[in-house]
């Protein structure tokens, strides 16, 4: 994303922080990839991590790399369904966006095999569906 921090520039001896402007906020917003493309998003708050979300996150990251998949692995806060942690939201273009629950490392691999590569939703792990 933005390669240079808008702001910090040395002027003479002092370090002066240039102020961010409204235009720069707009620019950051416009540049955001948002929800486009293929991605998985892991809930990484305390209750997610307590349930093993960090392992799930690492597994997914490793899988995407190993198998050379163009899928962003992102992290987010608590989506609220704490009873089903770790939660992983999966968006693959042309498929419904779903949140899988109780995703341990094995299920994470299953998601890659079946959902991302096989274009099939997994049975018995969906905890939320985003319409559309």
């Amino acid at each position: 994303m933005t390669s240079v921090l808008p702001g910090s520039a040395a002027v003479g001896e002092e370090l002066v922080m240039a102020k961010i402007t409204k235009e720069q906020l707009d620019g950051i917003k416009a540049q955001s990839v948002g929800d486009s493309g293929n991605w998985v998003r892991v809930g990484m708050s305390t209750c997610g991590i307590a349930a093993g979300a960090d392992k799930t996150f690492e597994k997914l990251t490793a899988q995407m790399k190993e198998r050379e998949l163009e899928v962003r692995v992102e992290r987010c806060g608590c989506a609220g369904k704490c009873f089903a942690e770790p939660l992983v939201e999966v968006a693959v273009e042309g498929m419904p966006v779903v949140i899988y629950g109780r995703v341990d490392e094995n299920v994470a691999v299953e998601i890659v095999d079946k959902h991302i590569l096989g274009k099939k939703l997994l049975n018995d792990h969906i905890y939320s569906v985003k319409a559309g």
Binding site: F83, Y127, S128, V129
Partner: protein
């Protein structure tokens, strides 16, 4: 390249009970599709939970997003042929689920990466403070807050605009605004989730409050037991500083504001505002009498506003969408939404956000999915140790500050614990009181001595040594604590006792007069025994007893040696014939 399906049928059993039911319908869908064709185009998937409850088997057709409820085997063919192939809506079983939740505070939780400021900005983050700084005077900010009707979410429910306005009216060389992230209620984790999931929204709320009251310095008081929250807030502050969103002359408007974190050491009483201030000043976290109120004389003697995490997270949205928009949500006296940590015997323990005015019943059954294992619900505890229990026949009460108070509980910060028939009310009251006794700072006598006495009496009752006069004593001590304690801790510590006495007096009586615990929780009050006529002599109890005190054999039957029994309840659990009584 594998091709995706064109349609999806998502099947969910929205009732607990028969795990086979959903499999049967799923298999039938697959079988019918195979016969009439279409299994290449349509995927049939079993889900675990889609937030719909008590509607039998639900089928959701995607991408059309059509729902059918109460789906039986005979509907399967019709759904495929008419519903999917002919694109007709089957009116008889069609159904439109309503989402009972509304996410304002949690708008970004579970959506953005909390460690990337760009993600927050992409969701209109820091647009509200820009708007405020360029279009609002501090008076107008206060006014907009007044229109919004936002009341504090930390427990007291004091109108936020009023606090800001009081502090604004005081002239001082320095003022402070503090975010209260102490969150000490057992079972509560709303604030933690917001701090961890969307730290920038709290910082932005703090900035807007600072501008309104004239504070240039903010503190986020976060309990040290929340290391991840601390880490994420720290990152957020650094990122905001790097972008010039914190510091001097923000957006070139001349407004200066910066904030830093202070760690709380996890004492419940430090969440109380005067104790919190003492703790930041480096003194012992003792509360002190008010007035003077912190808004006039607070941190280091300067005007100080203390706002809860959730309160602050609401504020950017109020300025993006307008106070009137916010006020259109909720009830007459409570606007907006409330975040609750729904736990206990509810099927789905979860973090929820619902509009004010929703009923407790909707929360438990339509958001939480009902009671675990289909047990009978007994009550809900709201407001944590300062709150009270609300029995089932009041569950249609709309949730707002005043309604809950009328029932003898409080909104509190948002802990909501569901109890079923196996939970003993005396035991619950004892638990909360025990918490307050542990957490009492001991500075004032009513709280220190009163709490200990109440706990002692409750313990006597739960162990079968209670006397009926004790009930009167409980009431008298409670009253004294409410009236004479120094801070909110002691003033409210007896609430769980008072409310449980009010609604569940019969249960107290059973403990006192009959030495009986109706829920079978107070283990001192019962004995396990084998009921002769129900016993099928399977010996399961004997084989499972961890202390081997069940004698007898499959010929003669079994006897539990009450003197040696440790009351673990294992035999009661394993008996398939209900032949163990207690």
């Amino acid at each position: 390249m594998v091709k995706a399906f064109k349609k999806y049928v998502l099947l969910t059993d929205t009732e607990q009970g028969d795990p086979e039911r959903i499999k049967k319908i799923h298999d039938l869908f697959l079988a019918v599709l195979r016969v009439i064709g279409g299994d290449e185009e349509i995927q049939v998937v079993r889900t675990s939970d889609v937030g719909i409850y008590g509607r039998g088997v639900v089928a959701q057709i995607l991408p059309d997003n059509i729902f059918y409820a109460g789906v039986q085997e005979e509907h399967v063919r019709q759904i495929i042929e008419e519903g999917i192939f002919q694109q007709k809506k089957l009116e008889a079983i069609a159904f439109e689920p309503k989402d009972k939740q509304l996410r304002i505070v949690l708008r970004n939780c579970g959506v953005i990466d909390p460690e990337r400021i760009e993600d927050y900005i992409a969701q209109d983050g820091y647009f509200a403070i820009h708007k405020v700084l360029t279009q609002f005077t501090p008076e107008q900010v206060v006014n907009e807050m007044k229109i919004s009707g936002l009341r504090g979410r930390g427990g007291g429910g004091f109108p936020t605009w009023m606090k800001w306005n009081i502090a604004r009216g005081v002239t001082a060389d320095q003022k402070y605004i503090i975010c209260n992230g102490d969150e000490g209620d057992p079972g509560a984790y709303m604030d933690r989730s917001v701090l961890e999931g969307d730290p920038h929204s709290v910082i932005e709320g703090l900035m807007i409050g600072g501008y309104a009251m004239g504070a240039t310095k903010g503190f986020l008081y976060i309990r040290a037991e929340y290391p991840l929250a601390v880490e994420r807030v720290q990152k957020a502050i650094i990122q905001a500083r790097e972008r010039g969103l914190l510091g001097e002359n923000i957006f070139g408007t001349g407004f200066n504001f910066d904030c830093e974190i202070r760690l709380g050491a996890g004492a419940f009483v430090c969440g109380e505002e005067t104790a919190l201030i003492a703790s930041i000043e480096g003194r012992r976290g003792y509360p002190s009498p008010r007035p003077p109120y912190p808004a006039i004389k607070g941190l280091w003697g300067k005007p100080t506003v203390i706002n809860n995490v959730e309160t602050l997270a609401n504020i950017p949205v109020i300025f993006l969408k307008g106070g009137a928009w916010f006020a259109s949500i909720g009830t007459e006296t409570a606007k907006g939404t409330k975040v609750f940590a729904l736990t206990g015997k509810v099927k789905n323990s979860s973090l929820i956000e619902v509009p004010m005015g929703i009923s407790l019943r909707e929360i438990v059954f339509e958001v939480g999915g009902g009671i675990l294992n289909n047990k009978k619900i007994k009550a809900i505890q709201t407001g944590g140790p300062s709150g009270g229990v609300i029995p089932e026949h009041y569950f249609d009460t709309p949730v707002d500050y005043d309604q809950l108070q009328k029932l003898g509980s409080i909104m509190g910060s948002g802990g909501m614990i569901v109890m079923d028939e196996t939970d003993c009310i005396v035991d619950i009251a004892k638990f909360y009181l025990g918490f307050c006794v542990d957490e009492s700072c001991g500075k004032c006598a009513p709280c220190r001595i009163g709490g200990t006495q109440l706990l002692h009496i409750l313990t006597e009752i739960s162990e079968g040594r209670g006397k009926i006069e004790d009930v009167e004593k409980l009431k008298r001590i409670s009253f004294a604590m409410q009236k004479a304690s120094l801070c909110g801790l002691g003033q409210t510590a007896s609430n769980p006792v008072a409310s449980s006495l009010k609604y569940f007096y019969e249960e107290y009586k059973a403990h006192i007069l009959e030495n009986r615990c109706p829920s079978g929780k107070c283990s001192r009050l019962f004995r396990y025994r084998v009921v002769e006529d129900k016993c099928k002599r399977c010996s399961l109890c004997q084989r499972n007893c961890p202390v081997n005190v069940i004698s007898g054999d499959r010929e003669k039957g079994f006897v539990i040696d009450a003197a040696k029994c440790v009351k673990c309840g294992k035999c009661f659990e394993v008996c398939k014939f209900g032949a163990i009584a207690r």
